[in-house]
């Protein structure tokens, strides 16, 4: 289970956009919001640099917490340092096939999967996502370009990121199965940026994501970016995946038999 789940303190009933009494929750989480407007997707430019300077930073795990004043709008946010990648980051780069013998539903192997997250990135990425002999990343937010998570249907990919300590990925667009697996497992928030930010952020930048306001703030550069709303996928990820969500909302019995 991803840390982001347990640290997400916001409760469903406090979310004004969501009611637990709704007998037929909408499930349009099956695709990211961008599908509705394919023509507005920006065409992309070549990535000029994929090797940001190495930065030694002591970075805490991303945290997601609810607002101090629960009576107002919830403001779930993530705060941490980012790791920046380019376009078409495929599942072989996220978790190479030699590690697929690890079964995500076994807790010890889940942890191990996390330690290999993004190990398939080419050597042009000078900064390691996970330091040697570490099992967790110090980057709780991954920023990417177009078509993040393309390739195989391996659920190991979002699981590895979540197990490594990633709370959210922010990319311009996602491959279908990766997006769905991210939501179904509740491992990570697959967020979409409105503009191409992977060329404006550098690995190690300090980032805050304000989920309810669909906003990303880069404290290092001082810039602020709009994200596409996570929509109905949000409550599913927050609950911890489709089974947990379906139980919470009464779609299936509340406890496993």
């Amino acid at each position: 289970m991803a840390v982001c789940r347990s640290t997400t303190a916001i409760s469903l009933s406090r979310n004004p956009n969501f009611s637990t009494t709704n007998p037929k929750p909408s499930l349009s989480f099956l695709s990211p919001p961008s599908l509705k407007l394919p023509s507005i997707l920006p065409s992309f430019k070549p990535l000029t640099s994929q090797s940001p300077p190495d930065q030694r930073l002591s970075i805490p795990r991303a945290t997601a917490a609810d607002s101090a004043t629960p009576t107002t709008t919830s403001t779930t946010f993530f705060h941490g340092h980012c790791y920046v990648v380019g376009d078409n980051i495929d599942t072989d780069q996220i978790i190479p096939a030699e590690y697929l013998t690890l079964v995500p539903s076994k807790p010890d192997e889940y942890e191990k999967l996390g330690s290999y997250a993004l190990i398939g990135l080419p050597a042009t990425y000078k900064t390691r996502f996970i330091e040697a002999n570490q099992t967790k990343t110090k980057y709780s937010i991954v920023i990417g370009g177009e078509n993040f998570g393309c390739g195989s249907s391996r659920e190991h990919a979002p699981v590895a990121l979540g197990a490594a300590g990633v709370a959210a990925v922010v990319a311009e667009s996602y491959a279908r199965i990766f997006f769905r697996n991210s939501v179904a497992t509740g491992e990570i928030y697959p967020l979409e940026s409105e503009v191409r930010i992977c060329e404006e952020c550098k690995t190690g930048d300090l980032i805050t994501i304000e989920l309810m306001e669909s906003k990303l703030i880069n404290h290092t550069s001082g810039k602020e970016y709009k994200l596409k709303p996570i929509g109905d996928a949000g409550p599913v990820i927050e609950a911890g995946g489709i089974f947990a969500y379906a139980r919470k909302t009464g779609m299936i019995p509340s406890h496993a038999p």
């Binding site: 499930l27 349009s28 099956l30 695709s31 599908l35 509705k36 407007l37 394919p38 023509s39 997707l41 920006p42 065409s43 992309f44 430019k45 070549p46 376009d87 078409n88 495929d90 072989d92 780069q93 190479p96 096939a97 030699e98 697929l100 013998t101 690890l102 079964v103 995500p104 539903s105 076994k106 398939g120 990135l121 080419p122 050597a123 177009e146 078509n147 393309c150 390739g151 195989s152 249907s153 391996r154 659920e155 190991h156 667009s173 996602y174 491959a175 279908r176 199965i177 769905r180 697996n181 179904a184 497992t185 995946g241 489709i242 089974f243 496993a256 038999p257």
Partner: protein, 511 residues
């Protein structure tokens, strides 16, 4: 890939018709291409736009709204028991077949047990097909354990179709063992027109060749299907690819799909269905149609479909006794876009490292020196793929200049390689021709080195080599080493390249 090198042939044979869709999908755009394109595949000069031919939807005279549907929409309508639906709608679909394998099966089973209970039973023991195929001939203990987990589950659940392997030393001692799941599904009669087939593997889309809906899902979704036999799916809009013209005898379906992926990019069909029609498609064998549909996921596609016809029915004759009912796109069905190709003008293609849409003509890469050739996988390891390789070797009469690895997809393919006579060879089998050409001995059937796998996987790229491969992906590290370079190609092009040690257009040997 420089667009200028593509445009000379592209201009003449591709047209795209757009604007046939619903308002939500066909917002006016100044660009003739509605699809975001990858930088690697730009070919700006190729498109001519045709005006929409189809009329607006209107209520039928009975008063009820009658909407024309695409094939994929019809399959969704039937599987969800809804008379009408539209793309974008989420519907609960009844699943006809759920397939899983040794890489994702144990995790799916884990989720099924956790969520439905240790004593829970799968929804239908005859609709779950379990095919160990990925990491079989390895000493990796965890990989071996994963096959054991599948076996225990199948015994406990009395799963009817489990293609087990116990004797790893000799695959032929395992009569039940098949090999690569997508090829085995077809050979064992699990692919049927009009049905819904889900699998925990992205290349599950291969089965769309049979005119059914087939797509890849994750472990969590598969765990849900195991318990309920249903899944909530979004109805995809359809892109239609019309391929006409006589296919030259140096081309294969692999060239067609590489052409399409190069055209629309690795994300060009994300969330969409890809329907293949036209006289060229009609002329393709079932195995070639499978190659076509196999790689739709490399364009981001949710599924690919070829309308079932007499070729399909003939293939199925001795493979299934279950009744099936094919469906077809209505004449007035709405397509998001339509692409037209004149295949008679196409040339043999490759996808250069490190993306399946990094298209180039094979002849443009003739100076690329290669270290090895790999023939195998769900994409290029079928019987006809090996026959094609043998045909090139036979035509040349030469020996290969680089190590050439042969991994038949299934036990049936392996048997064919050793028993079927190659036309025009005077009765020689593929295996004999391969031996005379100096190839590596055909290996035990499995997914092999297509996806790297454990370090001891046969033909895995453990060094930074250059490989021409009949497989489906050339991402960094895909076949093992991160600095390895993979050129995706048809079996013809791969065989020609093996004979020269460079990427080679097969016309050098076939004409």
């Amino acid at each position: 890939m420089a667009s200028s090198t593509i445009s000379p042939y592209s201009t003449s044979f591709i047209t795209e018709k757009k604007g046939l869709g619903w308002s939500a999908f066909s917002s006016p755009s100044p660009s003739p291409f509605p699809i975001p394109k990858c930088k690697k595949s730009i070919s700006k000069t190729i498109v001519s736009v045709m005006s929409p031919q189809q009329s607006e939807r209107r209520p039928a005279t009975t008063g009820s709204v009658k909407t024309a549907l695409t094939m994929t929409e019809k399959i969704f309508a039937r599987a969800s028991k809804k008379p009408q639906l539209i793309p974008g709608e989420n519907v609960w679909v009844n699943v006809d077949i759920l397939m899983t394998h040794d890489v994702c099966g144990p995790g799916s089973i884990g989720i099924f047990k956790k969520e439905f209970g240790q004593d829970a039973k799968v929804w239908d023991r005859e609709k779950v097909v379990i095919i160990p195929d990925h990491y079989i001939f390895t000493k990796d203990e965890r990989a071996n354990r994963n096959v054991d987990i599948l076996r225990d589950f199948c015994n406990e659940q009395d799963i009817k179709y489990f293609y087990d392997i116990k004797d790893l030393g000799n695959f032929k001692a395992n009569p039940d063992y098949k090999g690569v799941c997508h090829v085995a599904l077809a050979q064992e009669g699990h692919c049927r027109p009009g049905e819904v087939l889900l699998g925990t593997d992205s290349h599950t889309c291969t089965a769309g060749a049979f005119g059914q809906f087939a797509t890849g899902i994750g472990n969590t979704d598969a765990g849900f299907v195991l318990g309920t036999g249903k899944l909530l799916l979004k109805v995809p809009p359809t892109l239609r690819f019309v391929m006409d013209g006589e296919m030259p005898d140096y081309l294969q379906a692999k060239d067609l799909i590489l052409q399409i992926i190069g055209e629309i990019s690795v994300a060009g069909a994300t969330y969409k269905s890809m329907e293949f029609v036209g006289s060229t498609v009609e002329s393709l064998t079932m195995e070639e149609r499978m190659t076509l549909c196999n790689m739709v996921v490399e364009a981001g596609g949710k599924n690919g479909v070829v309308p079932a016809d007499s070729t399909t029915f003939k293939y199925l004759e001795d493979k299934t006794t279950l009744p099936y009912e094919p469906v077809y796109s209505d004449a007035q069905a709405r397509f998001l876009s339509e692409y037209r190709f004149d295949i008679s003008k196409l040339e043999p293609l490759v996808a250069k490292p490190h993306s399946p849409d990094n298209r180039a003509l094979a002849r443009e890469c003739k100076d690329v020196k290669i270290d090895r050739v790999y023939i195998g996988s769900c994409t290029g390891g079928k019987t006809e793929d090996f026959m094609a390789v043998a045909k090139v070797f036979l035509a040349s009469g030469k020996k290969v200049k680089v190590p050439t690895f042969l991994v038949p997809a299934t036990q049936k393919v392996w048997m064919d390689v050793y028993t079927l006579p190659v036309p025009g060879s005077g009765g020689k089998t593929c295996a004999q021709i391969f031996e005379e050409a100096g190839c590596d001995t055909p290996a035990s059937p499995s997914c092999g080195a297509c996806l790297g796998g454990p370090k001891d996987t046969h033909a895995r790229m453990n060094e930074p080599l250059v490989c021409v491969s009949t497989t489906n992906r050339n991402f960094p590290g895909r076949m093992g080493h991160k600095e390895g370079q993979i050129y995706l190609a048809s079996p013809y092009t791969a065989a020609a390249s093996a004979l020269t040690g460079f990427v080679t257009d097969p016309r050098e040997f076939l004409q």
